[in-house]
């Protein structure tokens, strides 16, 4: 059976693999037998092998080196390119993070291949689905040159367990000087949060201009915490300084695709819809009955968020 290389994304705190990895393994299985590729500093593979076995990795290819951690992106692309040259896989599947996309692009140049980013589905014939233009257009595309490389958008494919042998193979890593040009001097965490990651969360509660102040975002956080949800913000809220940019959902921020998206005090401009339109279910709370967000909403409440949301939070908490 054809081999498909799947690049493993590990959690930054070393607590195992990200959900995106399990999604990528699941998506890759329609194309062939997945080999999980673990690239990182020495010790990275130790904590992730069990999860990879559980989600169908036939092999775990481990390339560990301090250089992979010390330099940005390029070393990972270099090792992957060597694996593609050595093993001629049917395809490469990479989680669609900023780093994942950069790796995919570099790998495409190195291997003379084409690539497709932010795919939401991969079919057995290699055709991929992408969502374009603010979520309004569904595109089918395929790679016509070289080894197809895909980056898979988070939360698009439900991870399905399937036993894999996870036979470990060590990959010799020798990073060239060309790939050691951008040094990662430090990794700084500024905001620690117990909430789920925005792009991975099953539920996202986002606040917009209607929240009216940074302090009042506690209303959004309260609802989010009652649901175990991530918190997002519209561009208007971020530009007004209500919430940090890394939580921005929309055209120049994150694209999310949760089971449930709750938009609070968000009018629903096209730029915002670009980041959330593919959510499975959408709920809106807005005092303006004409707000465009209601065109997208499966369930909408026309009302003051400052009364509706805290009351809803209380009722949800009471049901637990």
């Amino acid at each position: 059976m054809a081999e498909v290389l799947v690049l493993v994304e590990t959690a930054p705190d070393g607590s195992g693999v990200r959900k995106t990895t399990l999604e990528a393994l699941t998506a890759a299985r329609v194309l062939g037998e997945p080999s999980a590729v673990v690239l990182g500093a020495p010790g990275t593979a130790a904590g992730v092998k069990d999860a990879l076995a559980e989600y169908g990795a036939a092999r775990v290819l481990v390339g560990e080196s301090e250089d992979i951690d010390a330099y940005l992106v390029a070393p990972k692309a270099e090792v992957l390119a060597q694996l593609v040259a050595d093993r001629s896989p049917a395809a490469v599947v990479i989680p669609s993070t900023p780093e994942g996309k950069e790796i995919a692009g570099r790998l495409a140049i190195k291997t003379g291949s084409g690539f497709l980013t932010d795919v939401t589905e991969i079919a057995a014939d290699g055709t991929a689905t992408q969502v374009a233009f603010a979520g309004g257009t569904i595109v089918h595309a395929r790679v016509t040159t070289g080894t197809p490389i895909y980056t898979l958008r988070g939360n698009s494919v439900a991870p399905e367990a399937a036993p894999g042998a996870a036979e470990e193979e060590t990959v010799a890593v020798s990073v060239s000087d060309a790939a050691k040009q951008t040094r990662v001097v430090d990794r700084v965490v500024e905001q620690k949060s117990d909430r789920p990651d925005l792009t991975e969360a099953a539920i996202v509660v986002s606040g917009g201009r209607g929240v009216a102040s940074a302090e009042n975002f506690s209303v959004i956080e309260g609802l989010a915490d009652s649901l175990g949800a991530a918190v997002g913000a519209s561009r208007a809220a971020v530009d007004s300084g209500f919430y940090p940019h890394s939580f921005q959902v929309g055209q120049t921020g994150k694209t999310v695709s949760p089971q449930l998206y709750i938009a609070v005090g968000i009018s629903g401009a096209i730029q915002h819809r670009a980041g959330m339109q593919t959510s499975k279910s959408i709920v809106a709370v807005n005092k303006d009955p004409e707000a465009p967000i209601f065109e997208l909403a499966d369930f909408g409440v026309v009302g003051d968020l400052n009364t509706v949301v805290p009351a809803a939070t209380e009722q949800i908490t009471a049901r637990k």
Binding site: L72, V73, P98, E102, A104, G105, R106, A108, I109, S113, G114, F115, T117, D118, T127, V131, A132, F133, T137, I138, V139, H140, R142, V143, T144, A178, Q181, T182, V184, D186, R187, V188, V189, E190, Q191, K192, L198, L227, H245, S246, T252, L260, I270, Q271, A274, V283, P289, F294, A297, D298, F299, G300, V301, V302, D304, V309, A311, A312, I316, R319
Partner: protein
């Protein structure tokens, strides 16, 4: 320090955008085209670096004839000159092919620093700087929310979820920027008038020494097979809060087995 800023003209992301059903490429002719929003931050950053380090800012764009509007915007903000690569053969090129064209154009320019927006709002592939870094063999400092120039050393804060990575590399290099990096200036009246006199050099593929057969739809490394509008959602339920809004909202969540 000589800086090249990469600029792309795109259909306005605030309008409904389309693919062209004749060849599945972005419908640019019928669109309301504007400079890619993220590029304005790249231009601003280039101008800021020039103000502290000296040198020249050159705008480089690849696109149809109408892309001159994006060039004029960049020049009116304060860039010194521009190179516009335009050739009918480029139409329909994939990112891999386009990166070969931009890399060829960059190779004909003298630069210490290339700055570009982290993504364009049309394709949102967001890999062009990585492709150029790979092709040109220069370091890429990606996703910058802050750039510091210290002689030939570039320091970047790469924006991450909940923080940043501190990156360092030597010039020549390419830096991609997010919209958190600065607040772009508005072109002044004087700037707009001055832009009309600034040099814009037009180059064809032949001028760049790029084989026209290596670009365009026919030899693209990926192909759009078909596209369709997203099926419209069924009519949602909309209720007006009369003291029972929260109850109805929680009722909906319960019906979806969320609570």
């Amino acid at each position: 320090m000589n800086i090249v800023v990469l600029v792309k003209q795109v259909p306005d992301s605030g309008t409904e955008r389309q693919l062209d059903s004749s060849d599945n490429t972005v419908a640019r002719a019928s669109a309301d085209n504007v400079i890619n929003e993220m590029d304005e931050y790249a231009i601003e950053e280039a101008l800021t670096v020039k103000e502290s380090q000296g040198g020249e800012v050159t705008v480089l764009t690849v696109g149809p004839d109408g892309a001159t509007d994006a060039i004029r915007k960049a020049l009116s903000m304060g860039a010194d000159k521009a190179v516009h690569v335009t050739d009918p053969a480029i139409h329909g090129s994939c990112a891999v092919q386009t990166s070969a064209v931009i890399a060829a154009a960059l190779s004909q320019l003298e630069y210490d620093l290339v700055i570009c927006g982290a993504e364009s709002t049309d394709g949102r592939v967001s890999v062009m700087p990585a492709l150029l870094s790979e092709r040109l063999g220069i370091p890429h400092l990606s996703g910058a929310r802050k750039l510091t120039v210290d002689g030939s050393t570039l320091k970047v804060e790469r924006q991450t979820d909940g923080g940043f990575w501190a990156l360092e590399a030597q010039t020549p290099a390419i830096v991609s920027t997010w919209d958190t990096i600065n607040e772009p200036r508005y072109p002044s009246f004087k700037g707009i008038m001055a832009a009309k006199k600034k040099p814009v050099e037009t180059k064809s593929l032949a001028d760049l020494g790029v084989d026209a057969g290596s670009v365009g739809l026919a030899t693209a490394t990926s192909q759009v097979l078909d596209f369709a509008g997203r099926p419209p959602k069924g009519e949602g339920v909309k209720v007006t809060d009369e003291g029972d809004g929260a109850e109805k909202l929680v009722g909906y969540l319960a019906s979806q087995k969320i609570v």
